[in-house]
């Protein structure tokens, strides 16, 4: 009995020591949820006792702050209920990458070198020096069962809300305002003539392509899943630059394939480009059209640059249409905790605070609280079911 008490005391002591000695917690995952998480972490009393010192890299546009769009973030402060200084390092690498990070113990990610944290926003600059570490926590736009990394199963996870997405088109030859799932599937194949979108017999000399995200993206999981293309089906996606020039994706003259942007923000900045007179270097023609899938925040960026929002299967995006299940392009937002995270550790503490603290930051448009939804779905390949 005395031994048991001693063990308990030792365990409690170690737990306290863990928080008192405040170390580093590593987080990765969904770029679509990045803004909400950023807001939660920087709200005093949610994760840290006060607004944490924040260092940001790789986001925003030239000459502007990265803010909540930074791909690399670092927060320093005292955890609520803790003591000492805890460093929370974040690399927003995409949902699929995040799930792999927490599921597979040997996986590591790149972070800002903690010895270089200066509390500044470095805009589009990359971190001057980086560190590497295994991941303890991640955010994702889909459940692990709809991920490419289905095993090892991550037992610590919480569904925290709904993340919304939009389809947009660039100012290309196709000028429509609605897209259907069949059209999405055809465009993802990489050989879809404009007639499939326009319904005009004369539109058979140019093509409609998808410019999208890499296989590490949860936005892509939801786009491919909801449209019936198949989460694991390989696409022929193209990429264009901000001048509307089709890009050589592997340096060997490949202009379409299983490629895509690691950042929705970077993708969004290309979608305002006019491609009506651009050379189609994949199928050979003058002029083509591009459609794309983005988070609501990134879609706003693209639309601001000239892209056009599309209704999906005839249904416009609105918070009400998502909540009632008539608009189909949305996913379930999750927080995951690696199986190696010890109960009572700093990472476990941060996990618990994020599970509770992030949903209140959902603005009801880019992300929606579960309690506000009137329908549910198990994942992107299932249809919404009204409550």
């Amino acid at each position: 009995m005395k031994i048991n008490k001693s063990i308990l005391a030792l365990a409690l002591g170690l737990g306290s020591l863990s928080l008192a000695n405040a170390g580093t917690v590593y987080l990765s995952g969904s770029t679509a949820l990045r803004g909400s998480v950023y807001t939660a972490i920087r709200t005093a009393g949610v994760v840290f006792t006060a607004v944490p010192s924040t260092t940001l890299y790789d986001g925003g546009s030239a000459g502007n702050n990265a803010g909540s769009g930074a791909n690399y973030m670092a927060f320093q402060g005292t955890l609520v209920g803790g003591s000492g200084t805890t460093t929370l390092l974040c690399h927003w690498s995409g949902s699929e990458e995040g799930i792999k990070d927490v599921a597979v113990p040997a996986t590591s990610e790149t972070f800002i070198d903690p010895s270089t944290l200066d509390g500044a926003d470095h805009g589009t600059n990359q971190p001057t020096t980086v560190s590497h570490s295994a991941i303890e926590l991640c955010f994702a736009d889909n459940a692990q069962s709809f991920s490419k990394t289905k095993t090892p199963v991550v037992t610590g996870n919480s569904k925290i809300g709904v993340i919304t997405f939009k389809w947009v088109r660039n100012p290309g030859l196709w000028t429509g305002t609605n897209i259907t799932f069949a059209q999405i599937r055809a465009a993802l194949d990489g050989f879809c003539k404009r007639a499939v979108f326009s319904g005009s017999l004369s539109d058979t000399n140019d093509y409609v392509y998808v410019s999208g995200r890499s296989s590490l993206s949860g936005t892509r999981v939801n786009a491919f899943g909801t449209s019936g293309y198949g989460i694991g089906t390989l696409p022929n996606q193209i990429e264009i630059n901000s001048g509307g020039v089709m890009q050589d994706l592997d340096g060997a003259g490949t202009y379409a394939g299983d490629f895509g942007y690691s950042s929705g923000g970077t993708l969004a900045k290309t979608l305002g480009a006019n491609t009506t007179a651009s050379s189609d270097l994949w199928n050979g023609a003058t002029g083509f059209s591009v459609v794309s899938y983005l988070s609501v925040g990134d879609a706003a960026t693209a639309i601001g640059l000239g892209a056009v929002e599309l209704t999906v299967n005839g249904v416009p995006f609105s918070a009400a249409n998502v909540k009632e299940g008539t608009y189909d392009f949305w996913g379930n937002a999750y927080v995951f905790k690696a199986n190696a995270v010890v109960n009572g550790s700093e990472a476990d503490t941060v996990y618990g605070k994020l599970v509770v603290g992030v949903p209140p930051t959902f603005n009801g448009v880019n992300a929606i609280k579960l309690t506000d939804m009137h329908c549910t779905r198990t994942g992107p390949t299932s249809d919404p079911a009204h409550n």
Binding site: V104, D189, F191, G230, G232, T233, L234, D258
Partner: protein, 220 residues
């Protein structure tokens, strides 16, 4: 202790290798797939169509040890862009490929299967995959519900058991398919392309050649 650490390190290394090994870009090789519609499927790379010849064989006995060869479903598929001419090959289906867009759908399905190779994805490589996976042989060629899966965009290339299957090539211009030959699976798990010359026929052929050579040399 050192041994334990070494073993742990080896396990970690193996895990890293297994996870980080990336998918390979589909190279146009022909794939033969096997499924019992439960458990795991096996998919084997039999090389490019251009390397086929009558009598070519692949001994798949060990790879098929988990299958009842009398009931297994199997077939061959493949496609390639040959300098702008988009070609496809498959067993049993033999339907015209109407356009580049139609070929693209075949290619999407085939390369989605192929992405699961974790080694080089050249002739002789194989992988197994749960029959329930969207990109298994079973899902892609027989039962999958996705509009992008092989049997939905083209057809079911499978035959069942130790039998032969007609083998076709198609060009993506709506021309009629060409039957090239056939594949056959025997009870020993050997897959054969075309007809294997009978030993007696081969011997007679050899004897005939010798006679011709002898007569020519006699005339000289």
């Amino acid at each position: 202790m050192k041994n334990i650490i070494k073993k742990s390190a080896m396990v970690v290394t193996a895990m890293v290798t297994a996870v980080s090994a990336g998918a390979f870009t589909y190279n146009g090789d022909l794939l033969v797939g096997f499924t019992k519609q439960s458990g795991s499927d096996v998919i084997y790379d039999i090389g490019p169509a251009s390397a086929l010849y009558e009598g070519k064989q692949w001994n798949l006995n060990s790879a098929l040890s988990g299958f009842n060869l009398n009931t297994v479903y199997w077939g061959v598929i493949g496609d390639k862009n040959l300098a702008g001419t988009r070609a496809a090959w498959n067993t049993t289906v033999g339907l015209s490929v109407s356009s580049t867009a139609a070929w693209g759908k075949l290619d999407t399905a085939t390369k989605s299967i192929y992405q699961n190779f974790t080694v080089s994805g050249t002739e002789g490589d194989l992988f197994s995959i749960l029959a329930s996976d969207d990109n298994s042989w079973n899902s892609q060629t027989i039962v999958g519900s996705l509009a992008t899966q092989f049997h939905n965009v083209y057809g079911d290339p499978n035959v069942q058991g130790t039998t032969s299957a007609s083998f076709y090539s198609e060009v993506a211009n709506n021309s009629a398919p060409t039957q090239l030959s056939n594949f056959a699976l025997d009870s020993g798990g050997v897959l054969t392309y075309g007809v294997v010359p009978e030993p007696t026929s081969a011997a007679l052929l050899g004897l005939g050649s010798l006679v011709i050579l002898f007569r020519r040399s006699s005339k000289n």
